[in-house]
């Protein structure tokens, strides 16, 4: 029997409105050179309470109370915010990520002894980050990303300098790269995950540097993809791909790379390479390494800038 006491919603699920906002014409597609990575708009360590204190003590303004009063500043030992420039075209949205590092702090009493620092990583999309709402609980793709991030960072950290301690690294994706067109061109989401991982690695590395945890090198993430051109015959490798800018993505590769040691801590490749031998996995990985070298230059520049500003 139908419920007549309440005003019920429609019986079936409703659909969000989708607006047809213009053709994805060729002009809005790809304007970058294939081997150009998008500039990072901003990558800066968020001033934490500690760095505020040192900053103001140096200036001898003694406005500590004011800063502490705000309380909105996370009491993390290191944090970073990364914003990647939106793709060319009018209705793009870039990627915005924050990362906080908590620790190294002592493990709880119940935890078993560890001669190393225990690293735990959490990657979470904000509920509003993508077209499809993400729930409060982490879904499988988020857990998968956090495992990738853990592998990428574990190689870089010198973990034996902090026995019996733990570090939590939390990355929040505030805004993903999806726009409305994503929903129209269905298959791009799976490729955007690679970009998200690259961003996560870069932002986590900056936050670790801010927290002052010893690493063998600053690890940085880079993505390269093999894309088909409009007629579907020519394939080319692009760095830092945005899936929407291309007709189709055939294969993609994300690496976490230590530039000074020339080592890869995490490698993730998926897709199907064409049978012709002109492009193989080696070229794709080496291009991804090239992308991460570019990212490394950008984050080291912004890190040294941040150090300069706190020391003055």
């Amino acid at each position: 029997m139908a419920d007549r006491r309440r005003v019920n919603g429609p019986g079936s699920s409703t659909l969000p409105p989708v607006y047809d906002d213009g053709e994805l014409n060729a002009a809005s597609r790809r304007q970058r050179a294939p081997d150009a990575i998008r500039p990072l708009c901003e990558t800066k360590p968020i001033p934490t309470i500690c760095s505020y204190m040192s900053y103001h003590e140096n200036l001898e303004t003694k406005t500590l109370r004011l800063d502490l009063k705000t309380g909105v500043t996370p009491s993390a030992s290191g944090s970073a915010y990364l914003e990647i420039e939106p793709r060319e075209g009018e209705h793009g949205s870039g990627m915005k990520l924050t990362c906080t590092v908590h620790g190294p702090r002592s493990l709880p009493r119940s935890a078993p002894f560890s001669p190393y620092m225990v690293l735990s990583t959490h990657v979470k999309f904000a509920p509003f980050a993508t077209k499809q709402r993400r729930g409060y609980l982490r879904d499988s793709s988020e857990k998968d990303l956090s495992t990738h991030l853990e592998t990428a960072l574990r190689g870089a950290l010198i973990a034996d300098r902090w026995p019996k301690s733990g570090v939590d690294i939390v990355v929040t994706i505030i805004e993903g790269e999806s726009t409305r067109q994503d929903a129209v061109e269905r298959r791009v989401e799976e490729w955007d995950v690679m970009n998200v991982l690259g961003g996560c690695i870069t932002v986590a590395s900056a936050a670790i540097a801010d927290a002052g945890i010893d690493c063998v090198d600053t690890v940085s993430g880079g993505v390269a993809a093999l894309v088909a051109s409009k007629d579907g015959n020519d394939a080319s490798i692009v760095l830092d791909p945005v899936a929407l800018e291309h007709e189709s993505v055939m294969a993609a590769c994300c690496v976490a790379y230590l530039p000074n040691r020339d080592e890869v801590t995490n490698l993730w490749f998926k897709g199907q390479l064409p049978l012709s031998a002109s492009y193989n996995h080696q070229s794709l990985v080496s291009r991804a390494v090239q992308a991460s070298r570019g990212t490394h230059g950008l984050i080291s520049a912004s890190l040294s800038e941040a150090i300069g500003s706190t020391q003055n």
């Binding site: 857990k143 574990r154 063998v216 890869v264 490698l267 199907q272 996995h281 080496s286």
Partner: protein, 368 residues
């Protein structure tokens, strides 16, 4: 993977690492570097499923995979009919409607769960395993198309992987081979209806076609297999056991699928026409990073019995230099050079190599 504790002392780890870095490597169980552990396999063990398989490795680990299929209405997230029209008008020429629709096949039609005793099913390691296997299966884009019935309906495939035994080693190759066999034995009822009608199926199970057809030109791609390969020193080891993983410098999971070329059908010799294609790879965090470090006996008070300040100083120096000392275990630091990873990939894709051997072995399994 990281939370698998190995009960090996630093001295044992150093010994293992040295013997595995030799050329040829000496493995604890006497295998050669490219030898798989022997396994027994059977398919069609679960009558209530569309396809199932069981694989038992020689070390006693055992996995069961069941595949179940359900019909589901294709929900168009963009508002049904209007969207279809929009696609047609946007594509202009509109040639090959079926092709256009087939492209709408989605990866989410496959659901995969992995259950490992002793681990929670939402544990990050378990999720990582499931995503790895799922990604390899969907990478070529062919699999989702097999689940397409017509524009309004599709199959939803549930692939449930259960490890029966406790995980004695990293279960990735075992689960992958079991999944491969289960998918090869999967059959879906034969479709009787045509076009976009509500689907009607033949109730004769004998007439049901295989999800992956055996013979003919249609027998294109096969389900992928995933191999776990580790690098220890200069040697590359396939199918590592738990002890070998505990000293690995790096571990890589490589998924590849076999593509049968047309040439093979003509010459009637299937094995020669096999072509291996890389579909996905991921580095796996080796548990060796969490092994306890060794202390050289020069710096060990308990061993020498006396406190010698000079040796203490020497040890401090060594620690600064981080110079690896022969026979003293130290967990690997940093990443892997790409040359090492590349040699792993080459070894996997090598013609007549391990992957061929494994696929030949799996071909011998009677599919019921």
């Amino acid at each position: 993977m990281a939370n698998q504790q190995t009960l090996l002392s630093p001295a044992e780890l150093a010994y293992l690492h040295t013997s595995l870095s030799l050329s040829p490597p000496i493995r604890p169980d006497g295998r050669t570097s490219k030898q798989f552990r022997p396994l027994t396999a059977e398919t069609g063990i679960l009558p209530g499923t569309n396809g199932s398989a069981r694989v038992c490795l020689a070390d006693g680990t055992e996995a069961i995979v069941g595949v179940k299929a359900e019909i589901e209405k294709t929900v168009d997230l963009l508002g049904g009919e209007h969207y279809q029209e929009y696609v047609k008008s946007a594509s202009g020429a509109g040639g090959g409607d079926a092709e256009e629709d087939r492209r709408q096949a989605r990866g989410e039609w496959l659901e995969m769960t992995v259950e490992i005793p002793g681990l929670r099913d939402d544990d990050a390691g378990t999720v990582f395993l499931a995503e790895l296997l799922r990604e390899a299966l969907l990478a070529d884009g062919e699999f989702a198309k097999k689940l397409w019935i017509n524009r309004r309906f599709h199959w939803r495939l549930y692939l449930d992987i259960i490890l029966i035994s406790p995980p004695l080693s990293y279960p990735l190759p075992l689960l992958s081979l079991t999944t491969h066999l289960a998918l090869l034995s999967t059959r879906l009822p034969r479709l009787k209806s045509e076009g976009d009608e509500d689907p009607m199926f033949d109730d004769d199970w004998e007439a049901s076609p295989f999800l992956y057809p055996r013979q003919g030109a249609a027998a294109g791609s096969r389900p992928p297999i995933t191999l776990l390969v580790v690098a220890v020193g200069d040697s590359i080891l396939f199918d590592p056991s738990k002890e070998e993983l505990a000293v690995a410098d790096s571990a890589l999971a490589v998924s590849l699928c076999e593509v049968r070329t047309q040439k093979a059908d003509e010459s009637m010799e299937v094995d020669s026409g096999r072509e291996l294609r890389l579909v996905s790879m991921r580095t796996v965090d080796p548990p060796s990073r969490l092994t306890p470090p060794g202390v050289p006996s020069t710096g060990n008070l308990a061993a020498s019995g006396t406190f010698d300040p000079s040796s203490q100083k020497k040890q401090q120096q060594q620690r600064v230099e981080e110079f690896p000392q022969e026979g003293v275990w130290k967990a690997p630091l940093g990443g892997t050079r790409f040359a090492v990873l590349d040699s792993i990939i080459q070894a996997v894709l090598e013609k007549g190599g391990v992957a061929d051997e494994v696929l030949d072995g799996l071909e011998g399994v009677d599919l019921s």
